[in-house]
Amino acid sequence: MSESHDDPLIARVAGELRRPVPLSPDFDARVMAAVRRAPPRLPVRVWAWVREPRTVAVSPLGGLAMAAGVAALVLVGAWGSRPSAISHRPSAVRAAGTAPSVTFVFLAPQASSVALAGDFDGWDAARLPMRREGPGLWTVDVPLAPGRYQYAFVVDGRRFVPDPSAPRASGEDFGTPTSVVTVGGAARVAGGSL
């Protein structure tokens, strides 16, 4: 260590410089005002509407649109222009006496076809083909009774792809991961034994 470390003069200088330095009384307010004027960070803008109250039907659409939106915003941001807000909103439309309809969305600009396969359709990709809406966005609406369902997107009829923004099912029974959607609410007793 340098001998300066023990020099009494240096120590006195350092001690003097460690004294508290007063700030303008409105410093904090000015900082927070500047912070609020600062361009919003991408994740906060995108996440803000996801936190808004919604029905108990957990739609992957919110997360997926957000993931797609974040990807889009990142691209826009990289080119220097200011990102715009996401316009998608999750929907859990319920007609009287029916199960809520959950909208699934998947971003796959290069795909020729995308289908939805899961516990709700016997994992038959032919049953729930997704329709193309907008550049690279595929969607389908599925009425789901309360419960927890595993699913995946089937791209070009052969590749099982998990939902990038939905929770994953624990473990991979068959070598490819699956995603999970949970719909809350009351349900009938299982087994039919009562």
Partner: protein
């Protein structure tokens, strides 16, 4: 056999149709093995639909018969443990969610404790949130403690989902998974005015403590 089984259980038409096609999509030994597992499960009062779905998933993904049979057997075991923990009145969605939580690492005592925190109300979403948090990297005991703490604070399904999304967001932004869950549950408890310390879901079930 599977189709008749499906009809007898009153399974959704789509799944019945799939069960009918299962015979054509599995080789005979696998079909027989799966059918035997489904029969046993049904005799034990377990739902058949999740087991059929698991077999159909394997068939769709081109898995071999042994792997399909093993997956169905494992799920039947999980459903059995979930029923033991949640009680005989557990619904099919609760059993499926409970099986997922057990597979994620929750102890049966956690399921029983959760049931006691929501008497008379479905616990599908709390169980699912616990499993989903683990899938995002939150340690199982941390995820279980978080869900139990929120349950004791009276948090309902929609808020549990929002909690999970908050934690996922923090993780996506770079926060360590366990820390993200702990921070969010502490914040939620403060917001709700709950102060009761949490217990471990791996320990023996304790009488519920009220805040």
């Amino acid at each position: 056999m599977l189709a008749a089984l499906a009809c007898a259980l009153g399974m959704p038409a789509a799944v019945r149709a799939q069960a009918e096609r299962l015979g054509g999509r599995l080789d005979e030994p696998t079909r027989a093995a799966v059918a035997a597992l489904v029969d046993s499960a049904r005799a034990a009062g377990l739902p058949a639909t999740p087991l059929v779905n698991k077999a159909l998933e394997g068939a769709s993904k081109g898995a071999d018969g042994a792997r399909i049979t093993a997956a169905v057997r494992a799920l039947a075991g999980d459903l059995t443990r979930a029923r033991a923990a949640l009680g005989p009145t557990a619904s099919e969605p609760e059993l499926v969610a409970g099986a997922a939580a057990l597979r994620a690492g929750a102890a049966p005592a956690f399921l029983a404790r959760l049931r006691s925190e929501y008497p008379g109300a479905p616990v599908v979403v709390p169980l699912a949130v616990m499993a989903d948090l683990v899938a995002r990297g939150v340690p199982a005991d941390t995820a279980g403690r978080a869900v139990l703490a929120l349950a004791r604070a009276g948090v309902r399904d929609a808020e549990l989902v929002a909690f999970r999304q908050s934690v996922e967001r923090d993780i996506a932004l770079g926060a360590p998974a366990g820390a993200a869950a702990a921070v969010r549950v502490n914040a939620a408890e403060r917001d709700l005015g709950a102060t009761t310390p949490t217990g471990s879901p791996g320990a023996a079930a304790q009488p519920p403590r009220k805040p």
